[in-house]
Point group: C2
Chain length 83, copies 2
Amino acid sequence: MTIVPDLLGYIAATLTTSSFLPQAIHTIKTRDTQSLSLGMYSLFTSGVLCWLIYGIVIDNQAIIIANAITFILAASILACKNL
Amino acid sequence: MTIVPDLLGYIAATLTTSSFLPQAIHTIKTRDTQSLSLGMYSLFTSGVLCWLIYGIVIDNQAIIIANAITFILAASILACKNL
């Protein structure tokens, strides 16, 4: 009975984490950040950093891995927006 | 001992959920979606929908509320990108 929710959770985590890869590639390639919200990427990157610390505190490897990857991608997009 | 991680989790969830609000406002106002990646918003919106179903299946109200809000915001941005 726990296989279905576990599988759903892994699919969800894979989708939301990997989604920032096409945006990071698009932004790094084009350097176009006009329609990206600075507010969004500031809040989001801070939030993902909190998730990462949360994962370390509760010692949950899935949360640590997913948020470490998302943090690198979101921080790269934020850096392009600020440069 | 659980207050610190719980608080961190709530801060993290609030930041990552609310971050899509400035992007949604920015996108709806300007209708400029040039630098937004269609791949990102397609994957992300699908992922958030999976998180929402996951929350319903495991009956976790925090996951349901956070992802219902994020889904509305991400889907609005995706709709602007496609229109």
